[in-house]
């Protein structure tokens, strides 16, 4: 997967590029509206990560321009302008998803993969890790071919973990992915632990290995090759 990140803050761009690089996604950056157009004219990308606040123009204009081209790439808007209007406008003008800044890098990756699956693979993709497989078209997960009885949240959690495998996922990132703003103010993340415990139990009972590792109280890691 090849991606163009249009973001004027280089530090932020660096974070994203590094994260995506670690999971094997090639990510190029453009700092300005002009540079982005330049790159989009010269190369093809699977997806554009678009910041709406650009130093030389409104990101929505760039979105229009991208969508006016034939075979236009998918667009995921990332914006600190956390307003409903921007979100609606962006999605109306053909953006595939909207992610408000600040976002967790793991969340960005999950959204990117979801967009990729929807558009390029028409949702009929399968996600595999060891003996676990997830069927996206039927919303089912299997361990060694045995169907796992998962709740909606556990299913989401599993996909999130596999997508971000071998990475430490903070409790906040997990909570936010599953519950959005509800978890904003919560004092403890015991419920994340509860979900994790249930999921681990279900995988192990179905004969899967124990992929989940707790990382010092920061969060969790889904290890591809657990020791």
């Amino acid at each position: 997967m090849k991606i163009l990140l249009v973001e004027d803050n280089e530090e932020l761009a660096d974070n994203v590029v590094r994260y995506l690089d670690q999971v094997g996604i090639l990510c190029e950056t453009a700092i300005t509206h002009y540079e982005a157009e330049d790159k989009l004219l010269s190369y093809t990308y699977d997806c554009v990560l678009l910041d709406l606040m650009l130093p030389d123009g409104d990101g929505l204009d760039l979105l229009n321009w991208i969508k006016s081209k034939a075979n236009s790439p998918n667009v995921l808007i990332i914006s600190a302008k956390n307003s409903l209007d921007d979100k609606i406008k962006g999605l109306d003008q053909g953006a595939d998803d909207y992610l408000a800044k600040p976002f967790h890098l793991s969340e960005l990756l999950a959204r990117l993969k979801a967009i990729y699956r929807r558009s390029k693979l028409e949702g009929s993709d399968e996600l595999k890790l060891g003996e676990i497989s997830v069927q996206f078209n039927t919303f089912q997960a299997f361990v060694n071919g045995n169907l796992l009885d998962l709740t909606k949240k556990e299913y989401d959690l599993l996909i999130f973990l596999i997508t971000n495998k071998n990475r430490v996922l903070g409790k906040q990132a997990i909570a936010q992915h599953l519950w959005g703003d509800y978890t904003d103010d919560l004092a403890n993340f015991d419920f994340v632990y509860q979900h994790m415990k249930n999921l681990r139990k279900k995988i192990c009972e179905a004969g899967g290995r124990d992929y989940l590792k707790t990382v010092y109280g920061i969060g969790y890691k889904f290890e591809e090759n657990p020791s």
Partner: protein, 417 residues
């Protein structure tokens, strides 16, 4: 009191005072004028009697109850006209009345006559009555005149002023329109209007700047905290010791706190600025159910019981995004400040939305918790803005919000009617 009424009253009082003083002078003038005119009249009468005598009429035949003729010694000089008030008997009235007497003497055919003529003097009471009557009529006319013309004219003169007042009352930061007044051709009003126009333009400019500032600050803080979060997430994946993990975790959590505070404050600012206008009527039932569905599992894994009593088809005029924020804040507040094995009860009907939960009895006055950054516990994760946001939302949409605590039961209630 209305301006026009004050003007009318002042005008009427002045008119009344003017009429009283004027009446007094008119009385004096009438009195002296009557005496003067009567004196001249009597003088003519006396002269004509003298003429008759000259023409040979016997003077005894001329005498009646108003005419008195005496003979004076010839050697006395002729007397000029002499007027005086006197009391005389008046037959028709059958009493002594005040009369004016004019006397003059003439020497005719070797005789010296003193001819005196009386006339009834108009009584003071009558004059007073006349003057008062006249004044009252004048005053009533004035009253009618003021009531009709003056008020009309004043209304017209003050119309630009009233227009200005109306515009000031309708002034609204949201619409972002400075005052526009038409020329009134009245210098003072035009000065006032010009000042108001300048002031409103300045106000709107300042307001825009503050708004921009809060927008900018939210953006400007969110970008670096985003960077920090990313770096920390990268750091988490390095080969770190437990001690380092603790430090990273603590830095991470505090960074999250900054983000939440900034986001909540910018939402509060937007609410205060009425940026969520043109609300439409939305189905609260659907929204609440959707949100409860989403949080059911969260409530469950937090070890809490959820009770629902939700009436169908409850509508309220509120911005959908804000309604969602309000419900989210109420539910997460109820989850957050709960106890182990606790419960949450959500009730919705056409007159109110009630979210109750078990919790620790409050030490503070519950109303205080509606203020910003006021919180009961020192739970570091809580930023103390959740209820303040709900409170601000209710203020913006003119709903009444009460937060009470009876022992271990906390209730947040929003009246919808």
């Amino acid at each position: 009191m209305k301006l026009i009424n004050i003007i009318t009253l002042v005008y009427l009082s002045l008119t009344l005072a003017g009429l009283l003083i004027g009446g007094f002078f008119i009385y004096l003038k009438i009195d002296s004028e009557i005496e003067f005119e009567m004196g001249r009249e009597l003088d003519r009468q006396v002269d004509s009697v003298a003429d008759q005598i000259r023409r040979g009429s016997p003077y005894q035949g001329l005498v009646d109850d108003r005419l008195e003729i005496e003979l004076l010694p010839l050697n006395k000089a002729e007397e000029p006209l002499y007027l005086r008030d006197t009391l005389a008997f008046h037959d028709p009235n059958d009493k002594q009345v005040k009369q004016l007497k004019a006397s003059k003497s003439f020497k005719i055919d070797g005789q010296h006559y003193r001819i005196s003529y009386f006339n009834l003097l108009l009584e003071k009471d009558d004059i007073t009555e006349t003057v008062v009557f006249t004044m009252v009529v004048v005053f009533l006319l004035q009253l009618a005149f003021i009531g009709f013309f003056l008020r009309r004219i004043s209304n017209r003169v003050f119309r630009p002023f009233k227009n200005s007042l109306n515009q000031i009352q309708k002034f609204n930061f949201g619409s972002n329109e400075p005052f526009e007044f038409s020329e009134s051709n009245i210098m003072e009003f035009d000065q006032l209007n010009e000042f108001l126009m300048r002031m409103s333009t300045k106000l709107l400019k300042d307001y825009r700047q503050i708004k921009e500032f809060s927008e900018n600050i939210s953006h400007e803080i969110q970008t670096p905290t985003s960077v920090v979060r990313g770096k920390l997430e990268h750091l988490m994946n390095e080969d770190i010791s437990e001690k380092q993990a603790e430090l990273i975790h603590s830095a991470y959590q505090n960074n999250e706190r900054i983000q939440r505070i900034v986001r909540s404050l910018s939402l509060l600012a937007k609410l205060e600025n009425n940026e969520f206008e043109t609300p439409i009527s939305i189905n609260l039932t659907d929204l609440l159910k959707k949100n409860l569905d989403m949080t059911k599992e969260l409530i469950h894994v937090s070890g809490l019981d959820l009770e629902q009593d939700i009436q169908e088809e409850v509508y309220s005029v509120i911005h959908p995004f804000i309604a969602e924020v309000m419900i989210q804040n109420l539910i997460s507040n109820a989850v957050k400040h709960n106890v182990e094995e606790g419960w949450i009860r959500v009730q919705l009907n056409s007159s109110f939305l009630l979210v109750e939960n078990s919790g620790v009895p409050l030490k503070k006055n519950p109303e205080e918790l509606l203020q910003r950054f006021k919180k009961e516990s020192n739970k570091t994760e809580s930023i103390g803005l959740g209820l303040a946001i709900v409170n601000q939302i209710c203020k913006t949409y003119q709903l009444s919000f009460t937060y009470t605590s009876e022992g271990a039961i906390h209730s947040a209630r929003i009246s919808l009617s």
